[in-house]
């Protein structure tokens, strides 16, 4: 394993007045209301100017905030001289100038680069009320500039909506870039991919533990689809379930005390609960057909899963305590890959219609079904961001399979991975 660990301390100074900014802008749904935002390029405070640093910070922050769908960006070409001034105190900012450009919010900042050491000061201002909304100071190295920008994007969303963004999290996925299907991890904008496994076999179905410290996945390393767990920080890996037949679709419960998975040890795929040492604690399904692909409700009481017990594959929901099972999807002949949203109210899934797979969401009581993807190609395997704002999924609409992200209403879709290799089965980590 060629993985090395570096520890980086990002020190953020929460400014005292940021805690007072209780007034939040009311936003009910992405895209419904857009806030005019002026995002300036950060200026060098001390030390040399680095267009690489300021450019990269600006690019990452812009992309994250744009994906959120909450903002309308004031064209940088229209910026006046305040954009060139360093002053970050609200008394130093020329708010009328920004008002003139139609901006209601403003992001300004500075950076100081000393050798490899990088300090970034970032501020979000309320232009209308002429005050600071939030400020952060990030201390790290030049190579951490993307992480700092993602962290500030999370903070901006938190300040304006009350809910932190998911941009500092990571995406786990399967790629065959190395010549084998292995487990990879990348930033939520597709940058900085790193390979986590070197099984030189087939690695499948990654899923994060609810606290994001571990990944579960299936590998054929020992000539059988066995379930593994891997600690992300230490790289430590262990086989968790290796019964004859399938040991797939492992999903850790919100409590992290149990793992739902599909076993076919008795000749038919059924869903079971294991304890964290891999022993069977409970059998969840018992049908003649295929039962697979469990997804936990956020409260840990229910599982959504696929079953073809009534003929075609459909999404079902079962209560793990009472065993009461109901069918969720009624339309189409192939519904699959349920993903229970983090707010508990909606489930994303895929359906085949007209020979192609598309992504849908539905309320947990079966009402308000919405189709999110359209057009050519198959869009499959949706997974939620930890705040429920976004869905990550795989699609072959570009002719080859890659990983895409979109808002949970289906807008703003963009591709994250290159099409040089096959990337699929993404999972969004919890906040780190």
């Amino acid at each position: 394993m060629l993985l090395r660990c570096f520890m980086v301390f990002l020190i953020s100074l929460a400014l005292p007045w940021s805690s007072l900014a209780a007034t939040q802008i009311e936003i009910s749904a992405p895209g419904e209301q857009s806030i005019p935002l002026a995002l300036t390029t950060f200026l060098p405070d001390k030390g040399p100017q680095s267009e690489k640093i300021s450019g990269e910070f600006n690019e990452v922050l812009l992309a994250d905030l744009d994906l959120s769908g909450l903002f309308r960006f004031v064209a940088p070409k229209a910026f006046l001289d305040d954009a060139e001034r360093i002053g970050l105190f609200s008394t130093q900012v020329n708010f009328p100038q920004w008002r003139l450009l139609g901006a209601e919010t403003l992001i300004k900042g500075t950076y100081a680069l000393e050798g490899e050491k990088l300090i970034v000061e970032a501020r979000l201002f309320d232009v209308v009320n002429r005050r600071l909304l939030t400020g952060r100071r990030y201390v790290g190295e030049a190579k951490d500039v993307r992480r700092m920008a993602h962290a500030f994007a999370d903070q901006v969303l938190k300040e304006l909506t009350g809910e932190e963004g998911p941009f500092s999290a990571r995406i786990a996925y399967i790629s065959n870039q190395s010549g084998h299907s292995e487990l990879w991890l990348m930033d939520v904008d597709g940058h900085r991919p790193i390979r986590l496994t070197n099984h030189r076999s087939i690695v499948l179905n990654p899923d994060f533990s609810p606290h994001g410290k571990e990944l579960l996945f299936t590998s054929y390393r020992a000539n059988n689809p066995d379930l593994y767990r891997k600690e992300i920080y230490s790289g430590k890996e262990a086989k968790l379930s290796y019964k004859p037949g399938l040991n797939v679709a492992g999903r850790m419960a919100p409590s992290e005390r149990e793992i739902a998975l599909t076993l076919s040890k008795d000749g038919n795929p059924e869903i079971y609960l294991l304890d964290t040492s891999g022993r069977i604690r409970k059998r969840i399904t018992d049908s003649w057909g295929i039962d697979s692909d469990p997804s936990w409700s956020p409260d840990g009481n229910r599982l959504a899963f696929i079953s073809n017990r009534q003929g075609n594959p459909h999404v079902f929901i079962t209560d793990i305590f009472t065993g009461r099972t109901t069918r969720l999807t009624t339309k189409g002949k192939y519904n699959a890959t349920p993903a229970w949203g983090p707010k508990g109210d909606r489930i994303a899934f895929t359906r085949q219609e007209g020979g192609r797979f598309d992504i849908y969401t539905i309320n947990t009581d079966g009402t308000d079904e919405r189709r999110l993807t359209f057009g050519t190609g198959n869009s499959e395997h949706p997974r939620w961001s930890p705040d429920g704002r976004f869905l990550i999924y795989s699609s072959d609409k570009g002719g080859k399979r890659g990983i895409y992200v979109m808002r949970s209403d289906g807008t703003g879709s963009r591709r994250l991975t290159t099409l040089e290799s096959d990337s699929r089965h993404p999972a969004w980590s919890p906040r780190w």
Partner: protein, 178 residues
């Protein structure tokens, strides 16, 4: 109000990737094992996909079992594991062959096309392999000679996304165990 600054320490552990995926490229070995007819279309598909996304390399990597010259693949319809008449007659031929090779153990591999849920396809591939196994058993082959493994959609025979490729990828294969 601006009296104190509260210090909040956010600790972030970064993984860096030292010396990138430097594994030496294994020469792509064709997934074609037998069956001239299938083999030819497979070759042509590989020509098209050359250097871009060669999944057949995966096939080579898994320490797998040898194809048996005397045993033919069977194919399935989308999302089905029932045996067609054609599949049954191929299995009957395979059974005859196995009766002449009494010492051979066989692994039946179940495969799917790339569409649909990975997790469901793993289950479906297993159902296909099990359907083939139980038919061979019904024809007098001892079940102790037959084991199954599902590869889901992981080892396509034809690495392309079209109806023809998918039809060839929905299959069960018969491999001798060493």
């Amino acid at each position: 109000m601006k009296t104190m600054q509260m210090l909040k320490v956010v600790l972030v552990v970064l993984f860096l990737f030292g010396g990138l995926v430097g594994c030496a490229k294994t020469p792509p070995v064709s997934a074609v094992e037998d069956q001239a007819k299938v083999a030819q279309s497979d070759m042509s598909q590989q020509e098209e996909a050359k250097g871009v996304d060669d999944k057949s390399m995966q096939g080579e990597a898994v320490p797998s079992h040898e194809a048996m010259a005397g045993m033919q693949r069977i194919y399935f319809d989308f999302d089905q594991f029932t045996l067609s008449d054609e599949a049954r007659s191929i299995l009957a031929e395979n059974a005859k062959y196995l009766q002449t090779m009494n010492d051979v153990q066989v692994v039946i591999e179940g495969h799917c096309d790339e569409r649909g849920s990975d997790e469901y396809n793993l289950a479906l591939g297993e159902s296909r392999a099990l359907a083939a196994k139980s038919y061979l058993v019904s024809l007098g082959i001892s079940s102790s000679r037959l084991s199954v493994i599902s590869y889901g959609e992981e080892k396509p025979l034809v690495n392309a996304s079209n109806e023809d490729a998918w039809a060839q990828n929905r299959r069960a294969e018969f491999k001798a165990v060493k």
